[in-house]
């Protein structure tokens, strides 16, 4: 197991170095120039520009800038945001809980509906229920989620007026952020109605972000389940006279879930990509919106740091999924 783990980690190191290089190079390829950007419309004298470029370290040769950047990463220094003048890592840490809360709710929604729906569809293969579930899943993973978000806003916020259009909680509530998770913090604050307000703000963005993962998980569960249901050991279990419920629950599901776990892990990248759209539509103050805004206003170090951190999260989750997969399935481990 240790060898397997070390092997996976070994693969990760060159990829991570590559990611740092990509993030570093990309922002230097962005058109425009940071000093002029900082100066804004006021303009800037050549002397002052040289000074600013020196301050930012942009006057050094590329390899030295890269080296400084790598050394910075190890010290937790990802540079400073042009617009807020705060360290990129601090900004990320402040905003990340909002995205994490949204992504977690989305993935919980996707798993809790997707897996049972997939199992049900597989067990009732060919029935109207199966066709309805798979039809809905098809619509789900074909969905342009930015449009889906707008439709939900039209219906639930515009016509029914059940949910708010944007933000994480009503402006009426003020309480300290303990965990950064609005659902938990609002409960801890003890303020009346705060929790409900947080839930109402969270519900539409979660649905939007969950849509594609839910559809993918339902389809994957169904096909994995169908494959397993045809196996000899399932037939044996049935022949032994086990109740259908325990055949499906005990024998089939456990094995069918192995590929589903991988699928769930792979959704993290999808979620973080989807967060850019979802957070932009719902003005959700998370890292997706932060990064998109930073790309639009050329906030170099935020884009560089954000790319690195997001890729880091995706790689970490993929590693965890790989290791989990190795734990459940010894064949992978020894291959």
């Amino acid at each position: 197991m240790l060898r397997f783990l070390l092997g996976r980690l070994g693969l990760l190191i060159p990829t991570f170095i590559g990611v740092t290089f990509v993030a570093f190079t990309f922002i230097r390829l962005l058109p425009g120039d940071p000093a002029e950007l900082l100066a804004g419309e006021r303009g800037i004298t050549p002397e002052r520009k040289a000074e600013v470029m020196k301050q930012l370290g942009f006057d050094k040769p590329y390899w030295q800038q890269y080296l400084d950047y790598i050394l910075g990463i190890f010290q937790g220094d990802l540079g400073t945001s042009f617009s807020s003048k705060k360290p990129v890592l601090d900004e990320f840490m402040t905003l990340f809980p909002a995205t994490a809360e949204l992504a977690l709710c989305a993935i919980i929604l996707a798993v809790c509906i997707g897996i049972p729906a997939g199992i049900f569809a597989a067990v009732k293969r060919g029935s109207i229920a199966d066709q309805a579930i798979m039809g809905t899943a098809l619509v789900g993973y074909s969905m342009p989620i930015f449009w889906w978000g707008l439709l939900l806003i039209i219906f639930f916020s515009g016509i029914l007026q059940w949910t708010p259009v944007s933000g994480r909680i009503s402006l009426l509530y003020f309480f300290p952020q303990v965990t950064g998770f609005m659902l938990i913090d609002s409960l801890l604050s003890g303020e009346k109605g705060a929790f409900l307000s947080a839930v109402r703000h969270l519900i539409l963005p979660s649905i939007v972000l969950a849509t594609i993962p839910l559809a993918v998980i339902a389809r994957q569960t169904r096909s994995a389940m169908l494959e397993v249901l045809g196996e000899d050991y399932v037939r044996t279990a049935r022949a032994k006279g086990l109740a259908p419920r325990s055949v499906i629950g005990l024998h089939a599901l456990r094995n069918a879930l192995i590929p589903v776990v991988t699928t769930i892990g792979l959704q993290v990248g999808v979620l973080l990509g989807g967060a850019i759209l979802t957070e932009t539509i719902f003005s959700w103050p998370g890292i997706g919106k932060w990064l998109f805004d930073s790309i639009s206003r050329r906030d170099y170090f935020v884009v560089q740091g954000g790319l690195l951190l997001i890729a880091g999260i995706v790689m970490l989750v993929n590693l965890i999924v790989d290791v989990l997969y190795g734990l459940i399935n010894p064949r992978i481990r020894h291959n």
């Binding site: 990611v19 990309f26 993973y141 930015f146 039209i154 790319l307």
Partner: protein
């Protein structure tokens, strides 16, 4: 060695005829399995209808897609109160006919899909073939490079690439093609690895086939099935991603009637004019569903493992 005896040329003819009828039989078998999937057939019909609309849009659309009717801002669809029969699906904020814009927009979406798939498929296949065939350092290098691309969420990477290249449809397509091609590389490489040591490849090598011939003529045709399925998937992903970029203001630029861009322009009217928002998204959804249905059908028809079950 030259051999022109009548018997040999008759044999060659026979071989050719046999291979032709085998190809026909394969096609017939493919169609048999594909058409058993009713959804796939429906998807194919919708897809062809969309192609027809896209091609014929200049002639069949009721209005010029960029014509602004100054007396008809935000006219609702004809069945709503205040709707006009000349604007079946209503008009947008500057008085352009939505139906006409949608019809012209079909050409954008479909050509985005085609171009992105062509770029990512061809680059992906060549890279994957080289990785799988060469092995060793070349393979490791290429695959790590693909891992790096895959470590970033596709939309985020595409956004940054478009920011570097400059917003616009062409650059959006290049960016999307780049983020989609690792899937083709991985698939091709995996298929090449499993085919490389098969007898027919060894036989071809012993017969003196060169590297290029071995890669493209001997191995590649046997790896096509998963690539076709991935190509349809990428087609729909490309349309979705391009629309998302357009929606974020980084794809096709106004006044282009690209569906995502139309949605971006319509955003501020979501609570006052539902039709401006609803129809472009519906067009994207229907197109992507149709392509995904075809993709499912192709997978059923081309995947031998599923055929047996």
């Amino acid at each position: 060695m030259t051999n022109t005896s009548p018997a040999a040329s008759a044999d060659a003819d026979k071989v050719q005829a046999a291979s032709r009828s085998a190809t026909l039989a394969n096609l017939a078998e493919f169609w048999y399995y594909f058409s058993r999937n009713k959804g796939a057939v429906i998807g194919l019909i919708i897809f062809f209808a969309l192609v027809a609309i896209a091609v014929l849009a200049p002639w069949i659309s009721p209005h010029d897609p960029d014509m602004q009717y100054r007396d008809s801002f935000l006219v609702p669809p004809f069945w709503e109160e205040g709707g006009k029969s000349t604007f079946i699906l209503g008009t947008d904020a500057v008085g352009r006919d939505i139906l006409s814009r949608l019809m012209h927009g079909a050409a954008y979406s479909l050509s985005i899909g085609v171009i992105v798939v062509i770029i990512s498929l061809s680059v992906g296949i060549v890279t994957g073939l080289i990785a799988g065939y060469a092995g060793g350092v070349v393979d490791t290098f290429i695959m790590r490079l693909m891992d790096i691309i895959l470590a970033f969420p596709a939309l985020l990477l595409a956004l940054v690439l478009v920011a570097i290249l400059g917003p616009g449809l062409t650059n959006a397509m290049i960016a999307i093609a780049l983020v989609l091609q690792p899937h083709f590389v991985r698939l091709t490489r995996a298929a090449v690895l499993s085919e490389r040591s098969r007898d027919y490849v060894v036989a071809a090598r012993l017969a003196g086939a060169g590297h290029i011939r071995l890669m493209f003529k001997t191995i590649l045709p046997n790896c096509v099935a998963p690539l076709i399925v991935q190509a349809t998937l990428s087609f729909s992903n490309a349309i979705l991603d391009a629309a998302a970029l357009g929606f974020l203001g980084m794809g096709a630029q106004p006044p282009a009637s690209e569906w995502g861009t139309m949605l971006a322009e319509a955003r501020e009217f979501i609570l006052s004019a539902w039709w401006v928002v609803t129809f472009p998204g519906l067009a994207i959804l229907i197109t992507v569903i149709a392509i995904n249905l075809v993709g499912d059908g192709l997978r059923d028809a081309l995947d031998p493992k599923l055929k047996r079950s």
